[in-house]
């Protein structure tokens, strides 16, 4: 087997050195009747060529985003990732290292984490960011738990504009922990009355902007009302590029900002791995979940970085820890930070403007199609359209015509009576031809 360096001669010599005759003597503690005599019922080993063939065949049964006019979003976005990013994250020293427990030989990881934390804090307008969560949805669940610790209350109010998967993740966790969650009705127009839901028992309000229907939400009044009642505002985003163009959640008064960083540096990957961004104010740092990288000096007085404030974490605090998270999204945060470095502020803000411009163009063109109504007053790179027929059906027919048109709202919110609504996203990857193809196909389908 190509991955196993020991030869049979080596094995024999090693067993002799250990003082046993057969390797199974080393498995003596496994109950005799449970030690398998034969290999399990799976195929035997295969060469590289054969494995690649099998997996290529499976891959070929999927339609990649790059191969068609592509407008699917709803929490994961197709962006162009520069070749440099994928090259760098595959360097052995990044790819094959562990969590930086031995900082003297992990400064590469630690320095980029410090830079990543600085970038995320700047982008969100917050004081501190952690070294990543698994993704935006699990990060949101953790943010709610953190708010409960800070406020010593146990009721979260979730906006009807929060991505339904995110709401489900929060609700699953909260139900299990016997905490209360109030989930507002789906808020297609972005006009829900969330303020009246906030009272002195509220721990936190969770508001996504741009919301799942694409609307931009003014967080300031929500933050003010939450703070009047001693509650926290958790601001959520699923499209990190939007922060290049929109006023930061921090500047609007958010106490915790959490979101999905996939758009920067990371491929679609059919849903994962992605990277959760998590930021808050300095005063709450000790209630934060996840790893934190901090600056220090070495024995010679040189600057260096280490994982720090670990008394919050499971390996020290065990059942009193702020979270159970251990492994996070290291390499995805590296991809994020490299892409962000390539973009810089000038590139990020321009990328965001291009995304917005493309979405505006698309919205205007779709609005001209009979049987299509664009519902949003505001949006960034994604919006909701109302079709003359069920969106799931239309999307299926459009796929047959080679256009991946978006996400039917019914896929996320079945039974909500929103069957004719379609979420449509447009990023820098879309061309005039893509838009023309979409419009033409849609005319045929409706």
């Amino acid at each position: 087997m190509r991955y196993l360096p020991l030869s049979d001669t080596d094995r024999g010599e090693m067993l002799a050195r250990i003082g046993v005759d057969h390797v199974d003597e080393l498995f003596a503690d496994v109950p005799k009747n449970l030690l398998l005599k034969e290999p399990v019922d799976l195929p035997r080993r295969k060469g590289e060529l054969e494995v690649e063939r099998i997996l290529s065949r499976m891959s070929a049964r999927n339609i990649p985003a790059s191969s068609v006019p592509f407008f699917v979003g709803a929490g994961a976005y197709k962006h162009h990732v520069p070749a440099t990013v994928d090259h760098l994250i595959q360097r052995s020293e990044f790819l094959t290292s562990y969590t930086p427990y031995q900082p003297e030989i992990a400064q590469g990881t630690l320095q980029y984490l410090f830079e990543f934390q600085t970038q995320v804090a700047a982008l969100t307008g917050m004081d501190v960011a952690n070294a990543s969560m698994y993704d935006g949805s699990t990060g949101t669940g953790e943010a709610v738990l953190m708010a409960h610790r800070v406020t010593k209350r146990r009721k979260a109010v979730l906006s009807g504009g929060l991505h339904p998967h995110y709401a489900d993740v929060v609700k699953t966790l909260s139900d299990m922990a016997s905490d209360e969650t109030v989930i507002l009705a789906p808020d297609v127009a972005g006009t829900e009355d969330i303020l009246s839901q906030i009272d002195d028992t509220t721990s936190c309000v969770v508001v996504q902007t741009p919301d799942v229907f694409g609307n931009l939400r003014d967080l300031k009044p929500i933050a003010d009302k939450a703070h009047q009642h001693g509650a926290l505002l958790i601001a959520v985003f699923t499209e990190a590029v939007s922060l290049g163009l929109l006023t930061s959640p921090g500047s609007q008064g958010a106490d915790i900002v959490v979101g999905e960083g996939q758009s920067i540096g990371n491929a679609l990957n059919f849903g994962g791995p992605y990277v959760g961004l998590f930021a808050t104010q300095s005063k709450y740092v000790r209630q934060m979940p996840g790893r934190l990288c901090g600056e220090t000096v070495d024995a010679d007085g040189n600057r260096g970085f280490v994982l720090t404030l670990s008394t919050r974490e499971q390996h020290i605090r065990r059942d009193k820890a702020t979270s159970n998270i251990c492994t996070n999204s290291g390499l995805c945060s590296l991809a994020f930070t490299i892409h962000m470095t390539l973009l810089g502020e000038a590139g990020l803000t321009r990328l965001a403007r291009i995304n917005h411009a493309n979405a505006v163009k698309l919205a205007d063109q779709l609005a001209g199609v009979k049987g299509v109504e664009v519902l949003n007053r505001t949006f960034f790179n994604e919006f909701t359209v109302k079709l003359a027929k069920p969106a799931a059906e239309a999307v299926e027919r459009l796929a047959e015509k080679g256009v991946l048109a978006g996400v039917p709202v019914s896929r996320l919110l079945p039974g909500a009576g929103l069957d004719n609504l379609l979420l449509v996203a447009s990023t820098e990857v879309n061309t005039d031809d893509d838009r023309a193809a979409f419009v033409a196909a849609l005319k045929e389908v409706l």
Binding site: M1, R61, A76, Q90, G271, T296, L309, G330, G344, G347
Partner: protein, 548 residues
């Protein structure tokens, strides 16, 4: 006079009064920066730059980048009427950029300050740092896996669903369990998933209010008690015994109508297989509770024993350990959970199901015939890791996976045999599984600690073992070589540790307490980092202010 790393320079040696003069913006800016960027370990022959040939010093991005620099060519869009409703950003962000060649150098230089499996032996116990085949990287990047969206029509991702289904079949077969929940994002998330399934099953039986205690051995990883507590269970410890094993009578003593589950790691964190595991499982089941198994150490027994045969109800599998998806400096991982027949109905959404027209994806609780407890994450989990893990399994096959486990166990025992006369084995000199645990009693009266030994190993070119875990032995050193090491590699490693052991015992404490001497940094001050946390870069104070 400071050079660009902020270290004092000796201008006279270079024959100029101010070597930074005329060097442009960057050098000038760094002149005023009171923060000290680091140079490699000191010593003789100082250089002007602080670099030591291939050992390059790299300032922070924020010290070399500019907000008006970009390494990406994009055209400004034509004029259009924005739809931002007055919520556009007015304040600058403060994100510096670099051109592409500068970016390449920044990260290549950083990478060179890291140790990876490809660098050398990485015996980090409990972490299974095995070879990461590049075939797996290649196939994970096939467009049909990497460039598909989780919410595009199911009819356009049949191959992706087939892959998930196939991975699930492999995991269920290797463990002899009934079902698998693929979506958890890492080991700890898998623990949470398994414990949620247990909680749901208990609630379904109407015992939710009364069964709220989880037994956790003291040797368990911190994620176990943290997970149980996260969803409202009370943790009751099971103390460690002299022999490193959990005893069935210690478990029985703590069992009662209030116990929901035990979280047992097997093979355990002391590197030992739990010989009474079947009896423990029976006792747990007889008491109406569930057996959660932490499968972080599955690498010792893949193809040798099936957890389902041992009475396990739920077990997470770290694909980023056992099935070699790269650790990537701290993730991403993937923690699928296999479930017994008793727990299978409670598996969370989403899951893949074979339908009459191909594979279906069950995303809503209402679409499931079973009783899913909810959802762990947006979308469907770590597809990128699924592809890599399946590639590993197809490559090894049933025969190769069994051989890998045997080699992993053989390698650990070979290290044990090579060191047992010098280092101390807390539970006696008996066979271990895929990792061998030493304590620090061999260091008694040497003035050297486990931490010092770890740092001295760095100087010898090794990544240290896991230190101070598990907590049940003093000064733990947990060594897991994995099956990826050759005999000659192990021989040199053993010889090195023997040399270190002699040095410690012969009073050469300086080799340890000052270590590392040869790493990109000397020993870092972790206390200082925690006492006054600096968690992001902030611009240096203007010079005038700094002078006050």
């Amino acid at each position: 006079m400071l050079n660009r790393q902020g270290r004092p320079t000796t201008p006279r040696a270079h024959g100029v009064a101010d070597p930074a003069a005329g060097m442009g913006d960057q050098a000038a800016r760094l002149q005023g920066d009171a923060t000290r960027a680091a140079g490699p370990a000191g010593g003789s022959h100082p250089t002007f730059t602080g670099n030591k040939a291939l050992a390059q010093v790299e300032p922070l991005l924020f010290e070399i980048g500019r907000t008006d620099t970009t390494g990406v060519d994009l055209d400004e869009p034509e004029d259009f009427a924005p739809r931002l409703g007055g919520l556009e950003r007015r304040e600058p962000i403060g994100l510096p950029g670099l051109s592409e060649p500068e970016t390449m150098r920044h990260y290549v230089r950083l990478s060179q300050q890291n140790y990876g499996i490809d660098t050398g032996l990485f015996p980090l116990g409990s972490c299974t740092m095995k070879h990461n085949a590049r075939l797996n990287e290649r196939v994970a990047r096939l467009p049909g896996f990497a460039d598909v969206h989780p919410l595009q029509p199911v009819s356009t991702v049949q191959g992706a669903l087939e892959l998930m289904n196939e991975l699930g079949r492999y995991l269920v077969t290797l463990t002899n369990m009934t079902a698998v929940a693929l979506s958890p994002k890492a080991g700890a998330h898998g623990e949470l998933c398994g414990m949620m399934a247990i909680k749901a099953a208990i609630e379904a039986k109407g015992e939710g209010a009364t069964r709220n205690v989880v037994l956790v051995p003291d040797s368990a990883h911190g994620t176990n008690p943290a997970t149980a507590a996260l969803i409202g269970f009370r943790v009751k410890p099971v103390p460690a015994r002299e022999d490193g094993w959990v005893h069935v009578e210690d478990v029985k003593e703590r069992l009662g109508p209030d116990v929901a589950a035990i979280m047992l790691t097997n093979p355990n964190t002391c590197g030992l297989f739990e010989p009474q595991v079947a009896e423990i499982a029976k006792a747990i089941h007889d008491a109406g509770a569930y057996f959660y198994c932490d499968g972080a150490n599955f690498n010792a027994i893949v193809g040798k024993a099936k957890p389902g045969d041992l009475g396990v109800d739920a077990m997470h599998i770290n694909l980023h350990k056992t099935f070699s998806t790269p650790h990537g400096g701290g993730g991403p991982g993937s923690g699928p959970v296999v479930l017994s027949e008793r727990l299978a109905p409670f598996a969370p959404v989403p899951f893949v199901r074979a339908g009459k027209d191909g594979f279906e994806l069950v995303e809503q609780e209402s679409d499931a015939a079973e009783k899913p407890f909810g959802r762990m994450t947006a979308f469907h989990g770590q597809m990128g890791m699924y592809v890599r893990a399946l590639s590993y399994m197809l490559s090894h096959g049933a025969d190769g996976m069994k051989q890998a486990s045997e080699d992993a166990v053989l390698n650990a025992n070979y290290i044990r045999a090579g060191l047992s006369d010098l280092l101390s084995l807390p539970f006696g000199d008996k066979p271990c599984m895929h990792e061998v645990l030493f304590d620090d009693s061999w260091l008694k009266d040497t003035g050297v600690t486990t931490l010092d030994v770890a740092k001295a190993m760095i100087d010898e070119g090794y990544h240290p073992m896991t230190m101070y875990f598990p907590l049940v032995v003093h000064g733990a050193m947990l060594i897991e070589p994995t099956e990826s090491e050759s005999k000659s590699s192990l021989d040199l490693f053993i010889a090195t540790l023997r040399d270190l052991a002699f040095a410690a015992k012969n009073g050469d404490t300086e080799r340890f307490t000052g270590a590392p001497y040869h790493a990109p940094r000397r020993r870092l001050d972790e206390t200082r980092a925690a006492r006054s946390p600096v968690l992001k870069w902030t611009p240096p104070a203007p010079v005038a202010e700094a002078a006050e």
